[in-house]
């Protein structure tokens, strides 16, 4: 997240989501999804992608995928 949105780790807000991070628009959201998929070796379903708009939601998807 820090890489995609140009943050330094301690500056990242408490519960990062589309509301609390300025740069997180629909385009950067796609970039975030791409990077997360590549890092964790998973693929999200097309319909799910627009809904994964917070760190929490992303983490739960990643956990589900990795069993």
């Amino acid at each position: 997240m820090c890489d995609v949105f140009d943050y330094r780790e301690p500056e990242l807000p408490e519960n990062p989501d589309q509301g609390s991070i300025d740069k997180w628009d629909s385009l950067e959201h796609l970039r975030l999804i791409m990077v997360v998929e590549s890092e964790f070796g998973i693929k999200f379903q097309t319909e799910r992608i627009p809904h994964l708009t917070s760190l929490e939601l992303l983490l739960s998807e990643i956990e589900k995928a990795h069993g």
Partner: protein
């Protein structure tokens, strides 16, 4: 650098990736991303935002479907773009079938199929841009051939947001675009330094002997042969080659000159360091001999240890890792972005020969009894001409590459030189020299702006390869003569100090110019005489 992005699909994810690569080439960018699918208006409208932005580079990204639907209007679109933005470099990528059509057996055999349309459009793009000097075609189709549409296209992002590429696709396309931009703006590397053992041939010449090193046109030795052939191609398009190897010089040179499958003979190398000294000092010495900055060097060596040493001691030199397996050397060489260029000049093809001639001149100088006698014995001839279509590319290239004997270091693209050349208040001159030992080609550029009876010297530079023979003075005097004949009474000039042009600091004051505040002035009635060892011919 101002870069504009115009597209018919969502290409907004590219700029950030492109910037990563541009940064390593020292370019800081400022972007203008046009509104979705507004490329036509941006190019054609007289008062468009694109016009106001004044871009140095314009990237035109059109997907296959769009290109098919505007294919009739392509010639006009491109020529208008070229005319409306004469001083920008316009990069347009060609197209590829990223998403397959059903019944692909039928596709290639049906006249108006998508597949055939893509192919025809790409050929057309290639033809159309031959005549438009500031438009460059980026081969997207080649990227798809290399990586596969399966890897570069992700339907989920296409359907979600009209993004044409997967993450890998974005990375690869961005990398190519950055390489193109770096190449167009003259950031191409100039010198490739090569190790010998296990780099240009398999084995160690000092131990295996000329009969047993692995280098042939057949069998696995062909990998080294092909590697050398690809390096030869770099040489033929203007890259300077040098050797840096820990070896016995005679044994190594014998192999280089007599092995039947050695492609890169001694004459192709501008500098040779074969000894037992450390690589870093040798490379630094090559840099001094050739008068080329270490930041324009690339070093290839199969030994990870030697690479680390050079990286640590000479951080400006680019030292890529080489593949473990030598079968991958040819592919590796083809993938190096450092020497990429869209075109090359006649000067580029002759660069290798010119360095060999330079070595001969140095030998002549050592045997002459005085410097003056040496200069006279060279029989130097100089020809000063106004720029024409044939010489404009080389003139632009010199303004981009020359750092040392350059009074003002103003960088110009071909389109800029063309504009000056067509403008009646500007004059662009080139100087070509030759001597007894060979032809050096175009070595000097002078650009002057006329204002009434005063000429302002905007640019004056000489290639480092001919310095120290009075050519700088002769060229300046020739230009002043021409300006005087055109009715000028005074010439003003500037010296803009940079880290690299210290050697030109005293040039103006020692050649007839007087310092007035922050510029120099010369009364053309009192211009100095030509040096007597150079024969000058002006047009």
């Amino acid at each position: 650098m101002k870069i504009a992005l115009l597209s018919s699909y969502t290409a907004d994810l590219l700029p950030k990736e492109i910037d990563k690569h541009l940064k390593t080439g020292g370019i800081v960018s400022q972007w203008h991303i046009a509104l979705f699918n507004q490329y036509m208006q941006e190019f054609l409208a007289p008062e468009s935002e694109l016009k106001r932005f004044e871009p140095g580079v314009i990237i035109l990204a059109l997907d296959l479907d769009e290109l098919i639907s505007v294919s009739d209007k392509l010639p006009q679109l491109l020529s208008t773009a070229s005319e409306q933005f004469p001083s920008a470099a316009i990069i347009v990528h060609n197209c590829a079938m990223l998403q397959p059509e059903p019944m692909h057996l039928l596709e290639w055999n049906t006249p108006d199929s998508k597949r055939l349309s893509a192919s025809k459009i790409n050929c057309k793009l290639s033809e159309l841009t031959q005549g438009l000097p500031n438009i460059y075609v980026l081969d997207l189709e080649y990227l798809v051939l290399k990586h596969g549409s399966e890897n570069l296209f992700d339907p989920r992002f296409y359907y979600s947001a009209k993004v044409q590429f997967s993450l890998l696709g974005i990375q690869k396309v961005a990398e190519q675009l950055a390489t193109a931009i770096l190449s167009i703006t003259g950031r191409r590397k100039k010198c490739l330094v090569l190790d010998l053992d296990n780099t240009l041939w398999g084995g160690i010449i000092g131990e295996d002997g000329i009969e047993h090193i692995n280098l042939s046109n057949d069998g696995i030795g062909k990998a080294f042969y092909d590697f050398q052939r690809k390096i030869e191609k770099l040489h033929d398009t203007g890259t300077v080659l040098a050797i840096c190897s820990k070896n016995d010089k005679d044994i190594a040179l014998e192999a280089i000159n007599s092995h039947p499958y050695m492609v890169l003979r001694e004459g192709k190398f501008a500098a040779i360091r074969i000894n037992w000294d450390d690589k870093a000092s040798n490379i630094r010495s090559i840099s001094e001999e050739l008068n080329l900055g270490l930041d324009s060097f690339v070093y290839l060596d199969d030994s990870a240890h030697e690479r680390e040493v050079v990286r640590k001691l000479l951080p400006e030199v680019t030292v890529p890792d080489m593949p473990e397996d030598f079968s991958e050397y040819p592919k590796f060489l083809s993938g190096l972005p450092y020497f990429e260029t869209f075109s090359f000049t006649v000067e580029d093809t002759r660069r290798g020969h010119m360095y060999a001639q330079e070595r001969q001149r140095k030998d002549l100088q050592r045997s002459a009894s005085s410097f003056d006698e040496f200069l006279k014995s060279l029989d130097i001839k100089m020809s000063v001409k106004e720029a024409d279509n044939f010489t404009i590319p080389r003139i632009a290239q010199l303004t981009q590459k020359t750092n040392q004997f350059n009074l003002t270091t103003r960088r110009y693209a071909e389109s800029d030189i063309r504009e000056f050349s067509n403008n009646p208040s500007w004059r662009v001159f080139s100087a070509s020299t030759s001597d007894k030992l060979g032809d050096s080609g175009i070595v000097g550029v002078a650009i002057s702006e006329i204002n009434g009876d005063t000429a302002r010297l905007d640019t004056f530079l000489i290639s480092c390869r001919v310095l120290g023979r009075g050519i700088e003075q002769a060229f300046l005097i020739a230009v002043l003569e021409i300006l005087k004949k055109a009715g000028m009474k005074t010439c003003i000039a500037e010296y803009i100090r940079t880290k690299k042009n210290g050697m030109a600091r005293d040039f103006l004051p020692t050649n007839g110019f007087a310092l007035r505040d922050d510029y120099y002035m010369c009364d053309l009635q009192k211009a100095p005489e030509f040096p007597d060892w150079i024969e000058v011919e002006c047009e």
